[in-house]
Amino acid sequence: MNLDWLTQYVVTVVILIITTVGLALLLHLQMGLAGIANFGIVGFYGVGMYAFGILLVHVPWPDGWGMVVPILLSMVFATMVAGLAGLLVGWLIADLDPDGILLGTLGFAAIVYGLSQTNRQWTGGAEGMGTTSFPYKIGTQKADTLLWLGITAVVVGLILYYVIRVHKSPYGRLLIAAGQNEALARSLGKPTFRTKMVMFATGSAVMGLLGAMYGVMLHYIRPVELGIGVTLAAMVGLVVGGQTKAWGAVVGVVLVGVLFELVFMVWLPFPSEWRRQSLPVVREMLYGATLILVLMTRPLGILGRMRRDKTVRRPANG
């Protein structure tokens, strides 16, 4: 099979799309089910990326451990740090209105971005820091990147499996109840605050893991990787696919990602001088316009309404 079209750049973009699918799935739990519109996805992703890089680079790992163990331990650390950050932010915002949630999550992302630019001895400041190459060598650079793509896809597949399981579980129904009518759920004795906070922390932890994994792919992490584009791509994809459906995140992000990141940015024959500045700007405009158009014309996205008949147990007498 001829794989010449699958250039190194295309593989990198596909990893980005798959990572965004993972972020959108977690956003689906937070926003689609529990009603917490997290505008600070990039903050948790960034915490994971930098926690991973800092531990990996600054800890004097024993020579006998090779590359795999330090990378795995750094990823566990990144997940835990992002989870703790999620717990703190979740505690701050879980009982606030949408405007307070917007402020809390945007504020957290701004704090992470600010800290990534300072603490030069730890983060490398605005120039960033080198982290690691892939923890294996199976052939060419493209082959190594393809293997990392496969590993990322497996992790995102596990997230999808978990999200589908949540939909069918009592925990999922509690999240939906907390998101749709929290006052009623609380009056029925459901611990909505704790549920939302713990779910937010768990989702944020996994966002941190995805940030760490993307940090491995980048080999070199910089504050510029923590721009609003990460949050935007996940949110647009989820809204396009359908925010109340688990598969909505997958369908939406893949559709939008392939259209905007591959077809528009790579495959359409635009003049090469446009590619450096004009096209990325137009792409971001397209993301913004898509968000507006979909929410105005089809707010439930491509996949539409949540299938409650599958998530709610039928009454015994039919």
């Binding site: 505690w91 405007d99 402020l103 701004a110 704090i111 971001e284 968000l291």
Partner: protein
């Protein structure tokens, strides 16, 4: 969007009406403790003692903070008008501020006008731009009964679209107003640029004018009536569309003036408004519950605290650190106080 009617059976009980033993609600005891007047007066006394004890530093922080963040106050007042009177969190307001900076620069450099003269067309044009966004996006969304969260996301999408649209049209490079250095005067021993002082005076004048307008004028009464109960206001002969347009226009004018002051004090760039948006939001959510006066003082206090942190000799705080500390502080305040919009239309 949540599915309609999934878990909506039964009365919509307020959280206060139902407090089961294991409700899972956040802790409220410490909130009530902090809400007590004794705690507030004690906190104020501590702040005053700290100001007196560190007067040489506090003096600089007050002058620099109050004058450098006056445009923030202006922008926050415009945002508060929209938020308090229409209930909308308009993320794209950031780009209204940016638009004010660019329109002011365009008028200033194209027609060679004095900056103070430039302010008038810049504010008016930005007001019209604000009304345009209402008719193009927010009114159709309202008519389609878009939910609160979805409305915020739509405004986020519009913000991104406009920001990059401005970058596409005006380019990446920073732009500057063509104005002569207006000089500076010394206030409490600290040199302050005249444009900054004008911004402060404008913020104060606009705040007072808006407070008078909203509370005393006939149109202001109509605006408040509309914010309180749209149907009742309509039945009383108020034209909701005209009043809503007026709100958007006034908010746009305040944002435009703020943008022009930001632009002339620093530079004009596509991210100007977005860089300030978080602070605008913080100031409005924290100070907005006390009306425009609260926004005014919260905006100035933000500037003073930022300057204080940057000037503290032993902290060696960079501007970025100062911002991080202030954002974290505001988030904690919001948690302590809660942010529920209790009285719509109280400005």
């Amino acid at each position: 969007m949540p599915e309609e009617g999934a878990v909506t059976a039964g009365p919509d009980l307020s959280p206060e009406a139902s407090t089961p033993p294991d409700s899972g609600a956040g802790p409220n005891d410490w909130r009530s403790l902090i809400a007590k007047p004794t705690f507030r007066w004690s906190a104020l006394a501590v702040i005053l003692i700290a100001l007196v004890a560190t007067w040489s530093l506090a003096r600089k922080a007050v002058v620099i903070g109050v004058t450098s963040d006056a445009p923030l106050v202006l922008a926050a007042i415009g945002f508060a008008l929209l938020y308090r009177l229409t209930g909308l969190i308009n993320v794209a307001y950031a780009e209204t501020v940016t638009m004010g900076a660019y329109l002011g620069m365009w008028v200033n450099t194209t027609f060679g006008l004095n900056f103070y003269v430039t302010l008038i067309p810049a504010a008016l044009l930005t007001g019209l731009f604000s009304v345009l966004t209402y008719f193009a996006i927010f009114r159709p969304a309202n008519q389609r009964k878009v939910g609160v969260v979805e409305m915020i996301i739509i405004s986020f999408g519009l913000s991104v679209f406009l920001r990059y649209g401005i970058q596409f049209v005006f380019g990446f490079e920073f732009r500057y107003y063509d104005v002569a250095n207006p000089g500076s005067i010394r206030v409490l021993g600290v040199g302050v640029g005249l444009f900054r002082l004008t911004a402060l005076a404008s913020a104060l004048a606009i705040s007072l004018a808006l407070i008078w307008f909203i509370r005393k004028s006939r149109l202001g009464v109509q605006i408040r009536a509309l914010a309180g109960d749209e149907k009742l206001a309509q039945a009383s002969g108020i034209n909701p569309l005209a009043v809503t347009v007026l709100i958007w226009f006034l908010a746009g004018m305040a944002g435009g003036a703020a943008g022009a002051f930001y632009g002339v004090n620093t530079s004009t760039r596509a991210w100007l408004g977005w860089d300030q948006f978080l602070f605008i939001l913080l100031v409005v959510l924290i100070g907005g519950s006390r009306g425009i006066g609260g926004v005014f003082f919260a905006g100035l206090a933000t500037g003073v605290v930022l300057s204080f942190l940057e000037l503290m000799p032993k902290l060696n705080t960079t501007p970025v650190y100062a911002q991080v500390i202030v954002i974290a502080l505001f988030m904690v305040i919001l948690k302590v106080r809660g942010n529920r919009l209790l009285e719509a239309g109280k400005v």
